[in-house]
Amino acid sequence: MKIADVSIARGGVPVLEGVSFQLDPGRALILRGPNGCGKTTLLRTIAGLQPPIAGSITGVEDDIAYAGHSDGIKLTLSVAENLAFWAEVFGSCDIDRAVEAFDLRALLNRPAGALSAGQKRRLGLARLMVTGRRYWVLDEPTVSLDRASVANFASVVQRHLAEGGAALIATHIDLGLEEETLDLSAYRAKLPDLQDFDEAFL
C-alpha cells in the first residue's frame, strides 16, 4: 500500500496535506496525532469511503478491511449470525478461527444486543478475520476493551502480520507491537491563502 502526497478535507476544511507513506505486507503502522487532526478522515479516505482532495492511494483495491468507530452489529442477530453474515459477504465461510481468536465461543448464540460494549467490540474486530483481506485499516480498535482483550487483540494483529498481512491503526495506546509510528501533526494543512478566492471557496 502506497500513500503518495494525499490531502484530505473534513466538512470542507482541509485538515491534512502531503501525507505520504508506504505500508508493506508484514508491517504495522500506527497513526498518532491529537484529536481532530484527521486520523479518522484519513483512514476513511484510504478505505475508499471518500475521495482525497489530492494525491493517490495505490495497491489496496479490494484488499482492505476497514473497522471504524461503530461495529456494524445487528443487535437482534446472534453473535454467530453476525459473523456468518460478514463472512458470506466477503466470500469466506469459516468463522471458527475468528471466534477462537477473540474468545467468542461462549457467546456464539447470544443476541448481540445482550453483549457488553467490550464484547461487541470484540465481535466487531473478529469481523476483520472473516474478511480474508490483507490490509486492516483500524480506527481506535481498542476502545472499550479491557486489558486482557487488548493484549489478545495485539497478538491477533501480530499473527496477521506474520501471515503476510498489514495493519494501519489509529490509536493512542501502546499495543506492544514492533511497529513504526507516524505522527500526523507534521502534515497539518496550512491555512489557505485568503486571496485565493477560487473554485473551492477556501
Partner: protein
C-alpha cells in the same frame, strides 16, 4: 475565451455586477410596457371579456416556471460533470424563483378559471402537471435546506433534479393519459396557438421577454448572494481553524 471562465466565482461576481443593472432595467421596461399594453390597449375578448387579460401574467409565469426547472437541470448537469460551484449555486438560486413563478401561474390560472369555467380548479392535464411540478420544486428546495454541508447538498440536489426531471416528464404523460382515460378529454384547453389572436400575441411576447429578463436578473442576483454566503462560510471555517 471560454464560457467556463465564469465558473470562477470572482469573475462571475465582477461580470454580473456590471451586467445586473442593465438586466434589471430591461426587465422593468419590458414588463411595464408589456403589461400596460396588454391590460389597457388590447380589445376585450368576444367570449371571455376583460378577464382574458390575466393571460399576460399567467402565460409568462408558466413559461418561466417550466424553463426555470430546465435551467436547474442544465446547471445540475454542469455541476455533476464539471463540478463548478457557481453552477450548483445557480441551480439553488433559481429554485425559489421557480416556486414563486409556479405559484403565480397556478393562482392566476385559478382566478382565470373561476371567471371562465366557473370553478377554481379542474383536474385538467395541464393544471395537474403544474401542480406536480410545484411539488417537485418543493422537494428540491426542502432538500437544499435540510443538508448542512454545501457540497453534499449540491451533489444530492443535482441527482434529485436529474431523477426528478425524468419523473416530471413521465408524470406529464401519465396525467395526459389519466384524464383522457375514463373521463371525457379536457374541453377547456389552454392551448395558446389555437386561442390567441395576433392582437394579443405581440404584447404577450413582450411580457414573456420581460419575465425572462426578470428571471435572469433574479437568478444572477441570488447566485451572487449564494456565492457570498459560501465565502462567508469558508471564512468562518477558516477562523475556527486558526482558533
Amino acid at each position: 475565451m471560454s464560457i467556463w471562465k465564469f465558473a470562477n466565482p470572482k469573475t462571475f461576481l465582477t461580470t454580473t455586477e456590471r451586467l445586473l443593472p442593465a438586466v434589471w432595467a430591461l426587465a422593468a421596461v419590458l414588463c411595464v410596457v408589456g403589461l400596460i399594453w396588454g391590460f389597457f390597449f388590447t380589445p376585450d375578448d368576444f367570449r371571455q371579456g376583460a378577464s382574458v387579460k390575466i393571460m399576460f401574467v399567467h402565460v409568462p409565469s408558466a413559461f418561466i416556471a417550466i424553463n426555470a426547472w430546465f435551467m436547474m437541470l442544465v446547471a445540475s448537469l454542469i455541476w455533476v460533470i464539471r463540478r463548478h460551484h457557481v453552477s450548483a449555486l445557480a441551480a439553488k438560486a433559481a429554485a425559489p424563483v421557480g416556486v414563486i413563478m409556479t405559484l403565480i401561474a397556478l393562482i392566476t390560472g385559478a382566478l382565470w378559471g373561476h371567471q371562465i369555467w366557473g370553478t377554481w380548479w379542474v383536474w385538467d392535464p395541464r393544471l395537474t402537471s403544474f401542480l406536480v411540478l410545484f411539488l417537485f420544486y418543493l422537494g428540491y428546495v426542502a432538500l437544499w435546506a435540510a443538508i448542512e454541508d454545501p457540497d453534499t447538498a449540491a451533489d444530492l440536489t443535482s441527482i434529485l433534479c436529474l431523477v426528478g426531471s425524468v419523473f416530471a416528464v413521465l408524470s406529464r404523460y401519465a396525467v395526459l393519459f389519466w384524464n383522457q382515460g375514463l373521463h371525457q378529454g379536457a374541453s377547456l384547453s389552454l392551448d395558446k396557438e389555437e386561442n390567441v389572436a395576433d392582437v394579443f400575441s405581440t404584447p404577450l411576447y413582450v411580457c414573456m421577454a420581460g419575465f425572462g429578463c426578470l428571471f435572469l436578473a433574479l437568478v444572477l442576483y441570488r447566485t451572487g448572494t449564494e456565492i457570498r454566503a459560501r465565502r462567508v462560510r469558508a471564512l468562518m471555517l477558516r477562523e475556527r481553524m486558526v482558533a
